[in-house]
Assembly symmetry: C2
Homo-oligomer: 247 residues x 2
Amino acid sequence: MTQPSAAPIRFVLFQPSHPGNIGAAARAIKVMGYHELVLVKPEQQHPQAESRARSSNARDVLLNARVTETLAEAVADCGLVFGASARRRRLNWPEYNPRQCAAEAIHAAATKPVAIVFGNEQAGLTNDELNLCNGLVYIPTDAEYSSLNLASAVQVLAYECRVAEDIPDPRPEPESPNASSEDIELFYSHFEQVIVNSGFLNPDNPRNLMRRVRRLFNRVHLDENELNIMRGILSSVDPAKRVEPRD
Amino acid sequence: MTQPSAAPIRFVLFQPSHPGNIGAAARAIKVMGYHELVLVKPEQQHPQAESRARSSNARDVLLNARVTETLAEAVADCGLVFGASARRRRLNWPEYNPRQCAAEAIHAAATKPVAIVFGNEQAGLTNDELNLCNGLVYIPTDAEYSSLNLASAVQVLAYECRVAEDIPDPRPEPESPNASSEDIELFYSHFEQVIVNSGFLNPDNPRNLMRRVRRLFNRVHLDENELNIMRGILSSVDPAKRVEPRD
């Protein structure tokens, strides 16, 4: 097998229902030069005969697809995570069109894998999954008929990534790579613990506080340096760790 | 039914083999706001149950699809015709990427329908079909695995057209609309007759002469005024019609 030359863009299907769509998605990404397919809790055991049939000669991508229990596992090592969504949400979440998403994805993929997450055919992505995303990507559709097939959505994004790879990006490589999704999750746990310790967050009545915190930090794409600084600040202010000054 | 607001872009499948692809193509275009699907000599009678299943709620587009015997019929009233092709040809044919194709298509669709023609799943488009096209559109793919599914190819082009509709085009509307494909065919017949009459083309040994003539004029997208001028010139020089000057 030859080494894939494309950027490390990972296509993640969250709880996909239809094996046919999984096979077609494998083909859709391979034809654009990508190889990383991850299935989070597929509804039927993977792989099914229909997936194989629809994958055509992308069977290698299909059979190498990683299957995970959670979305957090699927994107743990990623420096940037996009959630693909058909419906426009009212949440104050950063929105990208496919072209913008692809440009950001290819730029960030220079330092760490980038994930694009696609929701279940019926349910899409819920807020729990969006909490792990840095931004949403909307594929424009007709206002009255917006039912884009799952594999078609994967095809459009894979195509835009493929095209973006050929467009020169004038931005210099980042000084420090984006922090990984896994490290960001540890940061949020730490953050939550500190504001519980400080009495700001009541664990019995958390409201939407951590969701708001996540939304804020997901939007700014913390790099590794920034994350270390924030972790240091959290430790320094944690009342549970505070050493009473000596007299 | 509400009036479609999108530009008159016609998606033409030439001799499609798989009913599933026809249904998926109907869905792919409708989701981007387009409604015109034409099938040229589908291998199986249209519509099949599998087409219906894959079309989802785009059944209206599927069932309204026009079926024709020839590609010429399918594109007769079009002012611009693109042939979608996966393989790069050595012919000297104008090439567009999907984004360029979409920009040209939306611009030209202001005056006449525009067709994008997709070849059979295995055979693609042959030179006979390309003779009716003003240009080729190539969807970029991986160099080693370029087997793009037919409905996926339709999805990428429909998506690019949808996006192009939202991008302001600084070019003014053309002074005269592009000539229709049907009128261009009449012009080629006329042209051929005149050079047969003049002795330049030997009907028993036509070589590739008319193909070269077609390629030249297809490239320049004759508008209606230009076509009328060319027809007038042809008539004026036709030896069969020349009236010997009186003494």
